[in-house]
């Protein structure tokens, strides 16, 4: 088919069309560029993971991944309990904090979101405006008095300061996310349930909550990542080494060993990022939708 017939017959195909051969070349080039950028970005992490499986002395001399001697001794060394370090304990601690945070956020944020999205009540506009206002509030503004409050309550060296705020829906972002999601659900569903005599609570638990899958998955995933990576919170409230979370353990590890055992440090750092990356990859379809519609960082 000549170019002229295309031009006259189907104007919508007028976008520059090259012969098939060069389109294939263009596609290959595009993948090549993308993969090159990706590799450059992920290379430091891949190097770390690779180095974590190398004998300690070799690290810092090889930069080609997956060549040479393989060992798990770094992992054994890192997880070995010493007088100052106990990484298996830290992983348990981090899991406790992260799981409780997820439960709290999912519970409190969806409850509040249902009220904002579906119910009429006095001060609704005002409260919603306040919710949106707290979205941009820097943590530093409330950090000092929160510390004083939790200190007065005797909550230092417990996980309560890290977990209780989650059960009180203080992460406004996730409330907003669920509000947006619930607004997208057809209202006929809850009206039908209401005509059948359902209370608001049972409309929420039986009609709305089961449909909140993607919103809950997004909330759960990002709460998990933030709680798991959080360093400032544990740093403020946890000083008992038995209660340390993984990020604290990593800092402690560097303080205790200096640069002498990079291999074991890399092994522990690899274990520290593994659950984050793992969950993300497992749930990515739901998540990227959530990110795309709400702009979550």
């Amino acid at each position: 088919m000549s170019a002229t017939t295309v031009r006259t017959a189907r104007p919508s195909l007028l976008l520059p069309r090259r012969p098939t051969r060069s389109r294939l070349v263009a596609a290959v080039a595009r993948h090549a560029v993308t993969i090159a950028v990706l590799l450059a970005m992920l290379y430091p992490v891949l190097w770390m993971i690779d180095a974590s499986f190398r004998p300690n002395g070799v690290i810092g001399t090889t930069y080609l991944p997956f060549a040479g001697e393989f060992t798990t001794e770094n992992y054994e060394a890192g997880l070995r309990r010493t007088s100052t370090l106990n990484f298996s304990r830290y992983f348990v601690n981090s899991t406790i904090v992260a799981v409780l945070s997820v439960v709290g956020n999912v519970f409190a944020c969806t409850l509040a979101a249902y009220a904002f999205a579906r119910l009429q009540f006095p001060l609704r506009r005002t409260l919603f405006a306040i919710l949106m206002g707290t979205l941009l509030l820097p943590y530093q503004v409330t950090m000092v008095p929160q510390y004083i409050l939790f200190n007065e309550l005797g909550w230092l060296n417990t996980y309560l300061p890290l977990v209780v705020p989650r059960f009180l829906a203080t992460d406004a972002f996730y409330v907003f996310l669920a509000v947006q999601f619930i607004r997208g659900l057809p209202r006929e569903l809850d009206e039908a349930a209401r005509i059948d005599g359902c209370s608001h609570l049972s409309i929420f638990t039986r009609v709305i909550a089961p449909l909140l899958g993607p919103a809950i998955a997004t909330t759960a995933m990002f709460t998990f990542v933030h709680a798991w990576n959080d360093f400032l919170g544990p740093r403020l409230y946890i000083s008992d080494t038995r209660l340390y979370t993984v990020p604290q353990g990593l800092v402690q590890f560097v303080d205790a060993t200096g640069q002498s055992s990079v291999g074991a440090l890399f092994a522990m750092a690899t274990l520290a990022i593994a659950p984050v990356v793992g969950f993300f990859l497992a749930a990515q379809r739901l998540l990227t939708q959530g990110i795309a519609t709400t702009g979550l960082k």
Partner: protein, 330 residues
């Protein structure tokens, strides 16, 4: 776009009340309606109880307390002593480290934000031109954004930019012999922190990609018919259509950069070293508050940060009128 989703409030009641015969308002029905509204309001506040408790006890209460504390001297032992504006005065006039932390933070933000936005926009436009396996690429590009704030990656960064680290090794491959410790040197330390921020550009790229998908393909087809070049298409179609998303990403990246804590804290060993070149605002605030236990001073710093954020946000919103376009359907 993402900011434009802030919803309109609509009444959730069903269809408008049918007008009865002769328009007589039935007092009994009105009472029933009132009861229903009361029940609904009660239920709503039930659902909101955790959030309201959190708002009062964990957000607004501490916010007010922090403002009050900023006018006091308080070292956690004893009781706060009212000192008026002394903390603010000291901050602005007698504390060179405070100014240093402001400069470091602004430099960090001013370097990071344009780079993050440029990279993420370029790559989003590139990927949006059509590539197989987009979902997979998008996912992988997002991974650094999940890890960027973690201690693990900050510690990795120390190794990567150390004197016998990855960067110098790569430079060696290209024939540049470097034993410089990028992190140990005050003139380059901040650059490594910026690099870490730029490394996490995937999250804004994902938002750009979502925005790009909203631009109707027909615009480009029409432009191509008129013989518009690729660059012309970008300037006249992509940029204006995407400008609300660019605005949103700019705001988000600035706010995140100004509040970033963990990477600077870990890389500098909690001190802002070398020579305070990594003394970002949040790290200095942490030092004042929780190393020196100067709760009043730290609170004043927090309110100065809030004021600074408010000014920057206001300027950004003001600038939006010149470059952000809210079209009919974009």
């Amino acid at each position: 776009m993402a900011l434009a989703v802030v919803p309109k409030m609509t009444r959730p009641d069903g269809p408008p009340r049918r007008r009865g015969h002769a328009d007589v308002v039935d007092p009994e029905r009105q009472a029933a309606l009132r009861r229903r509204h009361r029940r609904e309001a009660l239920a709503a506040y039930g659902f909101l109880t955790p959030w309201i408790l959190g708002l009062l006890l964990i957000v607004i209460g501490p916010m007010i307390a922090s403002l009050v504390l900023s006018f006091t001297r308080y070292e956690l032992i004893g009781s706060p002593e009212f000192v008026g504006l002394e903390n603010y005065e000291r901050m602005f006039t007698e504390d060179p480290r405070w100014w240093k932390s402001v400069r470091v933070t602004l430099a960090y933000t001013a370097l990071s934000v344009p780079l993050v936005l440029t990279f993420s926009l370029l790559l989003a436009v590139f990927l949006n031109r059509g590539i197989r396996g987009l979902a997979l690429y998008r996912t992988l590009f997002y991974v650094p954004s999940l890890l960027g704030g973690s201690v693990a990656i900050a510690l990795l960064w120390i190794q990567v930019f150390g004197s016998d680290g990855l960067v110098n090794a790569v430079l060696g491959v290209f024939g540049v012999d470097s034993t410089r410790s990028w992190i140990g040197n005050p003139s380059t330390a901040l650059v490594t922190l910026v690099a870490l921020n730029v490394w996490t550009f995937g999250s804004s790229m994902v938002i750009f990609l979502a925005g790009l998908r909203q631009i109707p393909q027909s615009y480009y087809e029409a432009a191509a018919l008129d013989g518009a070049s690729r660059w012309r298409q970008f300037r006249s179609i992509t940029f204006p259509s995407l400008s609300p998303v660019i605005f949103f990403n700019t705001l988000l990246t600035i706010i995140n950069s100004l509040q970033s804590f963990t990477p600077a804290y870990v890389i500098s060993g909690g001190t802002g070293a070398p020579a305070d070149s990594l003394l970002v605002y949040t790290v200095y605030l942490y030092q004042r508050g929780f190393t020196n236990f100067q709760m009043g001073y730290a609170s004043a710093m927090a309110w100065a940060l809030l004021a600074g954020l408010a000014v920057i946000t206001a300027v950004l919103f003001w600038s939006a009128r010149f470059w952000v376009f809210y079209g009919e359907d974009a």
